[in-house]
């Protein structure tokens, strides 16, 4: 039994023995006790001491094996506040209506009813519009979903990094880690009938739209199970049934395309909007302003989302743009500057933008975000920025950490549970990679499929037309 006792318990046996000695002395003095005098208090107090020590030693739980359901002593609100204050100070749970739930705790994953109000890290800055409020309503379920989804996205991108280095992914691979909050926040504010179109940093947007890990990894590795059956690659993920229109390799081209999607939505009198995403590098493209002009002229429900990660490939924003206030670049088009590392700020901004776009036409959202990786896998990311900057952002502004702190602040899960979620993410990603590796490469006949939707039996040729010809169906 001794070896199961931790050190502090061993030390307390010293105390135990001294208390025994003490009590012995007290007992001996008890025999000669003069009951007419008030010495009995001393006797009882030392005995009480001994009893309490005894109870403490043998009934306390040495290992902090606090499962969610076994917690008997809920923490109070004041404790939560103290925790929040200890954290970066960015979290201010204004009120916990969940105080009622402190007494009966429900499992985190299904609690959709209690409202938690969260404040965004910084207030929104508006251009030609009144910015929305900083207070965002959410539920424990949404918070946990944010954490889980972002953990999956982060894990996927890190895994893609290793796959690229082991040459299973070829060509281009642009990673999104650091920017997950933009995708997550946006999805929380919209439906799958609202369209999203983005550039080449599209893996996580695809996941957010409902794509699976298997489809992602298989596409990256050029296999049949990929979302584009291996024919697109990293930059050309599509999911039309979820209104995700890619995945575009030409910087800036997706902006007029997105305005075209909005045009179609307006033409058909749908009550949906299009989110056209582009980076700070693309923000200087002429076709963006051409499309924005037309979108504003015709009141198209287009929301231009500038994911400003401050570097267009290797060029910092101040070296590329005379005015890096991208949310103001729309001039007559209203804009909103948003902390893109705060999923709730993104959610609030997208909700606001959707309402605005349906009534008044285009709006620009500038998401202030950051990418930990370089521009692509062939860019170490350190020739144009310092490692201190990268680690600084990771420490101060990481989107997943922010949600983690919120979860702790509102006591929705324990450290272990969150670690379990991350482990689960790792496991599922590894499984998806294994499955993707099993998937075969496209059949050679796929070289000639999908050139046209309707080929009229036209002939197409391989490199040596006397060797390889095919009829396009």
């Amino acid at each position: 039994m001794w070896k199961h006792l931790p050190l502090w318990k061993l030390l307390s046996t010293v105390e135990l023995s001294t208390s025994i000695t003490k009590s012995k002395a007290i007992f001996s003095s008890a025999l000669n006790f003069d009951y007419s005098k008030p010495h009995y208090i001393k006797f009882f107090s030392s005995g009480l001491y001994f009893i309490i020590l005894f109870l403490f030693l043998f009934f306390s739980d040495p290992s902090p094996n606090l499962t969610f359901q076994s917690l008997q002593q809920p923490k109070t609100t004041t404790d939560a506040m103290a925790l929040a204050r200890r954290s970066s100070g960015l979290l201010k749970p204004l009120s916990t209506a969940s105080s009622s739930s402190l007494l009966q705790r429900r499992p985190f994953s299904t609690d959709d009813t209690t409202t938690i109000t969260v404040e965004t890290s910084v207030p929104f800055t508006g251009h030609n519009c009144d910015p929305p409020s900083r207070s965002v309503d959410t539920t424990p379920k949404e918070l946990m979903t944010f954490f889980t989804d972002m953990a999956f996205m982060r894990r996927m991108e890190i895994a893609a990094d290793s796959l690229y280095k082991s040459k299973l992914i070829r060509g281009f691979c642009h990673l999104y880690d650091g920017q997950e909050a933009v995708s997550i926040g946006m999805e929380a504010a919209i439906t799958k009938k609202d369209c999203i179109i983005t550039a080449y940093r599209d893996h996580c947007i695809f996941l957010g739209r409902g794509g699976t890990l298997l489809e992602s990894f298989a596409e990256l590795m050029g296999r049949q199970a990929g979302c584009s059956r291996g024919k697109g690659g990293s930059m050309h993920f599509y999911k039309k049934d979820a209104c995700f229109f890619g995945g575009h390799g030409i910087v800036g081209a997706q902006v007029p395309l997105g305005c075209g999607l909005a045009f179609a939505q307006k033409y058909r009198k749908e009550d949906h909007v299009t989110f056209t995403m582009y980076g700070d590098g693309a923000a200087n493209q002429g076709q963006l302003f051409e499309a924005l002009n037309m979108a504003a002229l015709w009141d198209l429900p287009a929301i231009l989302v500038c994911e400003n990660n401050h570097y267009g490939m290797g060029t910092a924003e101040w070296r590329a743009a005379k005015s890096p206030a991208y949310y103001k670049r729309g001039d007559y088009v209203p804009g909103l500057k948003v902390d893109g590392m705060d999923a709730f700020a993104v959610k609030q901004a997208c909700k606001f933008a959707k309402e605005h776009a349906l009534k008044n036409g285009p709006i620009i959202l500038e998401m202030d975000t950051y990418r930990y990786h370089g521009h692509s896998m062939s860019d170490p990311g350190s020739t144009y920025r310092t490692r201190d900057e990268i680690s600084g952002v990771r420490q101060e502004r990481d989107p997943i950490e922010r949600i983690r702190k919120l979860i702790f602040a509102h006591d929705l899960a324990t450290e272990k549970e969150l670690k379990d979620i991350e482990k689960q993410a790792r496991k599922e990603v590894d499984e998806a990679i294994a499955q993707a590796k099993e998937s075969p490469m496209p059949d050679e006949s796929e070289l000639f499929t999908n050139v046209y939707r309707k080929g009229y039996g036209v002939e197409s040729f391989g490199t040596d037309r006397k060797e390889l010809r095919a009829t396009l169906p």
Binding site: S228, F245, C259, F263, G286, E290, L297, T449, V458
Partner: protein, 402 residues
């Protein structure tokens, strides 16, 4: 390797999702402003078919009374009918609405369909071509007009990277049922920046279809087919043909008339030499054929109608018959349509060639303005005649080759 004999003749049923009436060859007199007659002779291969079609021959009797229509009206009526048939079809471009079209092709459409379906744009090709492609992603059927295809270079990234390649890159998820149309090639005295032919550029891109109508029937049938097609189509018209009248058959006036994409048309049957041409050059080739006829050379004139897919079957079948080939185009000679046709014929029908393939193309210079220089910069009828005679080894004084 088999090259099927192209059934370029009379009854050519086209199996498609939409109603496509039977393509009939042009009979009767092709009346043009310059007054040249086309061939009245029946098709070599179709002779046996003719006897089975009294209805068609009855129609032929009325050929001299067939309606005439300008290419402009043909395009306008095609657009009108397609917009009426499918509410997803809309027209977008510079001056297509209130101005009634820079070349009046879209005249009357704004009044009929309203500003939501006939959309005037600012002078921003990259922007509105991209918006058109985005609308097509979402399932609409845009008809994007470039005022001339020279301006399409501002938007060529959208035509090629956003439109042509999307169906392939998405493995069939996203098709782009868009038509980019407008005048292509030289007009008269418009200078270097407004005179280029883009057939070869767009024709080299897999995923695009490139159509080049000549007559009014071509214009109607091909434009309707293009609008109904689920893939991106580049529709290259010609400004100088807009005002020309051609006879149109009764079928071509039907609102469900369309021509098959990827099939050339033999405008004139012949047995001595094949001349391929497209757009305005078909007219020149027909006139050259008249002149050659007088010299005893019986020329077969092929109207390509489609640069991509190129009707190699028809061209090769014709060359196997005639053994000589002249290709005619207005565009720059290097890497041009004629180069592709020549290569195709050399690969597939080398043994049948009795003479080297002759190419007539635009001069290898930017287009000059001065009338005499401009005349030298683009093929004329005598160029085609001379090349044909060379291919027939008739004595033509050889000029010193550079």
């Amino acid at each position: 390797m088999a090259i099927g004999v192209a059934s370029f003749n009379l009854l050519q049923p086209v199996i498609g999702n939409y109603f496509c009436l039977i393509d009939e060859n042009m009979w009767g007199i092709i009346r043009q402003n310059v007054g040249v007659t086309g061939g009245l002779s029946s098709q070599g291969l179709g002779n046996h078919m003719m006897r089975l079609r009294p209805v068609a021959s009855a129609m032929r009797n009325y050929s001299s009374a067939t309606k005439e229509m300008t290419v402009r009206d043909a395009l306008n009526s095609a657009l009108d009918e397609e917009m009426a048939a499918d509410p997803n079809v809309f027209v977008m471009g510079e001056e297509v609405g209130e101005y009634q079209g820079a070349y009046k092709i879209t005249k009357g459409l704004l009044d009929k369909y309203g500003p939501e379906r006939v959309v005037d744009t600012p002078i921003t090709e990259a922007g509105f071509a991209g918006i058109g492609v985005g609308a097509a992603y979402h399932g609409l059927r845009p008809v994007i007009e470039f005022m001339t295809f020279n301006f399409s270079m501002q938007a060529i990234d959208h035509v090629i990277n956003s439109a042509a390649k999307s169906n392939y890159m998405s493995a069939g998820q996203i098709n782009v049922p868009i038509v980019f149309r407008g005048p292509n090639g030289p007009a008269a005295g418009v200078g270097a920046q407004h005179s280029q032919c883009y057939g070869a550029w767009y024709g080299s891109v897999p995923g695009l279809k490139v159509l080049v109508p000549y007559s009014s029937e071509d214009a109607r049938g091909l434009l309707k087919a293009a609008i109904r097609d689920p893939d991106p189509v580049v529709f290259l018209e010609n400004e100088l043909l807009y005002g020309e009248s051609f006879p149109v058959s009764a079928e071509s006036l039907d609102s469900s008339f369309c021509l098959p994409i990827g099939k050339a048309k033999i405008e004139r049957e012949g047995k001595d030499i094949t001349i391929t041409a497209f757009s305005k050059m078909v007219g020149y080739a027909l006139k050259a054929a008249e002149i050659l006829e007088k010299d005893g050379i019986n020329a077969e004139v092929i109207n390509l109608r489609s640069i991509r897919p190129l009707d190699r079957a028809t061209i090769n079948a014709s060359v196997r018959k005639t053994n000589r080939l002249v290709t005619v185009e207005e565009g720059f000679p290097q890497h041009g349509i004629g180069a592709e046709i020549c290569a195709s014929v050399v690969e597939d029908s080398f043994g049948y060639l009795d003479a080297p393939v002759e190419r007539i193309a635009g001069a290898d210079v930017p287009t000059p303005y001065a009338a005499n220089l401009e005349r030298m910069a683009f093929p004329q009828i005598e160029d085609i005649v001379r090349a044909a005679k060379r291919a027939c080894y008739r004595s033509v004084p050889m000029s010193a080759t550079a």
